[in-house]
Each structure stands twice: as structure tokens, then as C-alpha cells.
């Protein structure tokens, strides 16, 4: 998926803009990091792409189609093309791991056998096949995160949005999860990862968009990160 922002502003109603005059282009099948301090606007940027929020002004084009042209009844179909790993925990405690991961498939009435096949494959990729019957409250933070990733990839989306996927994980697990995204990217999925984990940036060579107070402060190759 190709993503183009041009002069995008987002104002939640306060005096300070969450995003201010943001323009960039992410080519199809690219993997990109978005960094910046807390409150810089990383989550807002991702929410604009998945139409959880609408820009106050400016244009967002996805595969050359203007998001402003999406009516509310089009939004579900747009979201089905995007896998999102959310910053906050969004697993359903009443559902076991399997059913949590199956949600993106159930909403478009996929055949139960197909659901089973794909959910198991997805759980296998994140190494949690053996936890399929567990409930989220029995999982560790890392396992939570990985179930969220399994859910994001289960419908084989063209775009993966990950908001702080390694938020509170140890170094080894963080590496493992970022590698997972890199692997999905290898098979043609566009990936946008919001993070302030500099360690991860250094491990890859891909574009980094750095935000500061809602504005793009610099764009660079992640391999250039020193410190």
C-alpha cells in the first residue's frame, strides 16, 4: 500500500495541534519507523491512516485514493485491508486467544474451517499456537503483544500499523517481534512501526520519520542512527 500525506493537520480541539503540516510518502511494500517523544503525534498519525480519526485539514492518499472520499459505510472495508497492533491492550478478556485472533475473520463471515486454518497459522508465526485456548488474563505482557500481532496479520492485510509494539518488552522479545514485522515486510506487506526504541532502529535499514511536537523534524535511514 502506498501512503501519501500532504500538509496534514490534526487538531483534537486544544490550542496545540497533534499534527502540523505533515507531508511524506511511503512507497508500497516499504517498512518505515515513526519515532518521536511522547505526545509527538505518532499514534495520531497511525489513527489517521486507519480512519479512526479524520484530519482537520490536508490530504491523505492511500493507493492514490483520497481518504476524504471514504464514507462511513466504506470505513469497515478500508480497515479490513489494514492490520493494526494497538498501543493499548485491545484483547477481549472474555474471548480466548483463538477467538481474539479470529475476530478480523469472523466479521466478514469467513468459513469456520478457513478461520481455523488461518488463526492457527497466525498463532504459529508468533509462537503461541500452544496458548490458543488460554484467556488473555493468563498471558504475560509479551504474549499479549504477540496475540495482538497474530490478530493484525490473520486477515493477510496489505498494510500493517504497529503502535509501540515493543512498548514494555525486554530486549530479546523486542528484537523477536520487530524481526517478525520485518519478515512480514519481506513478503510484501507495507509496515509502519511507531516506536521510541532506538535499539530497534539500529538493527534495520529503513526510513525513519521523526516527529516533534506534531511536526516532522527529520527523515533519515535507520542504519544512520548512532549513539
Amino acid at each position: 500500500m502506498k501512503i501519501e500525506f500532504s500538509h496534514v493537520n490534526k487538531n483534537y480541539g486544544s490550542t496545540r495541534q497533534a499534527l502540523h503540516d505533515v507531508s511524506f510518502t511511503i512507497p508500497n511494500e516499504e517498512m518505515v519507523f515513526v519515532t518521536g517523544h511522547s505526545g509527538a503525534g505518532k499514534s495520531t498519525l497511525l489513527k489517521l491512516i486507519s480512519l479512526i480519526e479524520r484530519p482537520t485539514s490536508g490530504q491523505i492518499l492511500i493507493n492514490d485514493r483520497n481518504l476524504a472520499s471514504f464514507k462511513s459505510r466504506d470505513i469497515p472495508f478500508h480497515r479490513r485491508n489494514i492490520g493494526v497492533v494497538f498501543q493499548e491492550n485491545t484483547l477481549i478478556n472474555e474471548y480466548n486467544v483463538f477467538r481474539n485472533v479470529a475476530m478480523p475473520l469472523e466479521i466478514c463471515s469467513t468459513h469456520p474451517q478457513e478461520i481455523k486454518k488461518r488463526v492457527n497459522a497466525s498463532l504459529d508465526k508468533v509462537g503461541l499456537l500452544h496458548k490458543a485456548k488460554q484467556y488473555p488474563d493468563k498471558l504475560s505482557a509479551g504474549e499479549h503483544q504477540r496475540v495482538g500481532i497474530a490478530r493484525a496479520i490473520v486477515s493477510r492485510p496489505a498494510l500493517l500499523l504497529a503502535d509501540e509494539p515493543t512498548g514494555n518488552l525486554d530486549a530479546a522479545l523486542s528484537d523477536e517481534i520487530t524481526d517478525l514485522f520485518a519478515a512480514f515486510n519481506q513478503v510484501g506487506i507495507t509496515a509502519i512501526i511507531a516506536t521510541h526504541d532506538n535499539r530497534q532502529l539500529k538493527r534495520f535499514s529503513c526510513p525513519v520519520i521523526e516527529l516533534q511536537e506534531g511536526q516532522i523534524s527529520q527523515v533519515y535511514q535507520s542504519s544512520e542512527v548512532t549513539d
Binding site: R73, P76, R79, R80, N93, E94, I107, C108
Partner: protein
């Protein structure tokens, strides 16, 4: 197929909170049973049989130009009519004689060109036709016979009973309307709570691309099921009321020398009750979902 799948899922959801489900279903059932019992009473009055001492007779007036032979044909036809116990023919001559006897005026015919009195056939209906509906049916049938001018019955009690029945029916319908309103209110509140309880599921469903109708559907099925179960409870309550009241009412009726039995819901009545309860539940859910689902972000 899918309908039953969704209904089964709703049923499983209801079973997860058995006590609140039971409470809701009972409230709806009891509420629905009130107009149902009202309707049953109205129907019962219509089928009320009359005091045997005042058995009504139906007077059939034969057209003046009908010959005695034709009168015999009419009598024959009446003999075949269902619901008639006996008939008695009073010819115009007999009518005149009794008039003369009763009035004391002799030789009425001398001053008139011809006998103005019609031949009258007096019908005694069978006992099981002694109800508002039964008598009316009988009158309608007899009226269709050729050569009959007019059919008369002592209308007063008929009209009175009809009025009571119609009045009760009206009350039952007004009650049904008010109660439907209350049920929509109760159910939409229940559904509102269910929506609040499942806020997370709804939110995540929407985030992964669920359409509005997908999110809405489970609640519509829940409303439908609530209504359906409430309707069944109302149906059950009706039979319990019937069972409890039958004995005392029969005794009361016997003391007035009448027979009175409570109306038993037929298939159409029962289906109407249960289907309209289910539809009501669905409507309530629809109303509630329309109001509360949009509060949950993302849109």
C-alpha cells in the same frame, strides 16, 4: 440457517447471565399476559351462554305473498339448518285469531281487505348456539332463505353482551399498546446495558473492520429472543390463569344458571401473541442500538 445460528448464539449469551435473563423474561411475560388475559375475557363474554330460563327465540317473518306450500319448503329448509332445536309455525290465520282474542276486537277482517299479519316461524336455537356469536350466525343463515321478510330476536341482551365484549376488547388493546410501550422501554434499557458491557468487543470489532450491521445484529437477535421468551411466558401465564379461574367461574355461572367458560387461545391467537412479542423485542433492540451504538468510538 444463519438466522438460527445467530439465535443460538443469542441464546448462549442469555444463558451466561441466567438470573438477569430470567428476571427480564418474567417482567416482559407478566406485562404481556395482562392484555392477553383481557383479550381472553372479552372473547369469553362473547361465548357466554344465557340463562336457560330466558332462552331467546328467533322470530322469522315470512313474506305475505308466499303460499302455504312454499312455507312448507321453508320449514323443511330450517329443519336442515344447523343449530335449530325446534320450530313452530304460526300461520297468519292463527295470528289473527290470537290478535282478536287478545284485543277483544272481533271480525277485524271485515274492515280490512286482507289479513295484514304475516306467517311467523318461531325458532328455538340449540343450547350450544346460545351465545352472541352463535345467535348471530343463526340469524345470518336464516336470512339467506328465500321468501323470508325479516328475522327478529330479542336484541337487547345481544347488544348488551356485544357491548361488554367490545368494551373489554378495547381495553385489552389499549392495555396492549401501553404495555408494548413499557416493554420497549424495559428492553431497550436492558439492551443498553448489554451494549455497555460489551463496549470492548464492539470497539475492537469496529477497529478490525466490522460493519455497523455486523455489530448491530447480535443485539437485535437478543431483543428478538427476549421478546420471544416473554411471549412464551405470557402464554404460559394465560393457561395458569385459565386453570385457576375456571373452577370458581363455573361455580359462579352455575349459581346464575348460566354456563360460562373461559376462552382458550387458539393457534392463531397464540402465534399472534408470540410473534408480536418477538417483533416487539426486535424493535426495542433496534431502537436502543440506534441510540447507543454510535456512542462507542471509533465510528
Amino acid at each position: 440457517m444463519r438466522f438460527f445460528q445467530m439465535l443460538l448464539r443469542a441464546w448462549q449469551d442469555l444463558l451466561k447471565t441466567p438470573s438477569s435473563t430470567l428476571a427480564n423474561v418474567l417482567v416482559i411475560g407478566v406485562a404481556l399476559s395482562i392484555p392477553t388475559v383481557g383479550y381472553g375475557l372479552a372473547k369469553s363474554v362473547k361465548e357466554l351462554s344465557f340463562a336457560l330460563e330466558h332462552k331467546p327465540h328467533i322470530n322469522v317473518f315470512v313474506s305475505p305473498n308466499v303460499s302455504p306450500a312454499e312455507i312448507q319448503v321453508i320449514e323443511g329448509e330450517l329443519g336442515f339448518t344447523n343449530g335449530i332445536q325446534s320450530i313452530k309455525t304460526i300461520t297468519k290465520e292463527e295470528a289473527l285469531k290470537s290478535f282478536e282474542a287478545a284485543s277483544g276486537i272481533q271480525n277485524v277482517l271485515d274492515s280490512l281487505e286482507k289479513n295484514p299479519l304475516p306467517t311467523t316461524i318461531v325458532i328455538t336455537p340449540k343450547d350450544d348456539f346460545l351465545s352472541v356469536d352463535g345467535i348471530q350466525n343463526l340469524i345470518d343463515t336464516v336470512k339467506k332463505i328465500d321468501g323470508i321478510d325479516e328475522v327478529q330476536v330479542n336484541q337487547e341482551w345481544l347488544e348488551r353482551l356485544n357491548m361488554i365484549s367490545e368494551f373489554t376488547t378495547t381495553i385489552a388493546f389499549v392495555l396492549a399498546g401501553l404495555i408494548a410501550f413499557a416493554i420497549v422501554f424495559i428492553l431497550s434499557n436492558t439492551i443498553r446495558l448489554l451494549i455497555a458491557n460489551r463496549k470492548n468487543q464492539i470497539m475492537v470489532s469496529k477497529l478490525v473492520g466490522a460493519s455497523d450491521s455486523f455489530v448491530r445484529q447480535p443485539f437485535l437477535y437478543l431483543g428478538f429472543l427476549y421478546g420471544l421468551l416473554g411471549g412464551l411466558v405470557a402464554y404460559g401465564i394465560y393457561w395458569i390463569v385459565l386453570f385457576l379461574l375456571q373452577q370458581p367461574i363455573t361455580e359462579l355461572a352455575n349459581s346464575y344458571k348460566t354456563t360460562f367458560s373461559l376462552y382458550q387461545l387458539n393457534n392463531v391467537d397464540s402465534a399472534t401473541l408470540i410473534v408480536s412479542a418477538a417483533v416487539l423485542g426486535w424493535l426495542a433492540a433496534r431502537f436502543s442500538v440506534g441510540k447507543h451504538l454510535n456512542d462507542i468510538k471509533p465510528r
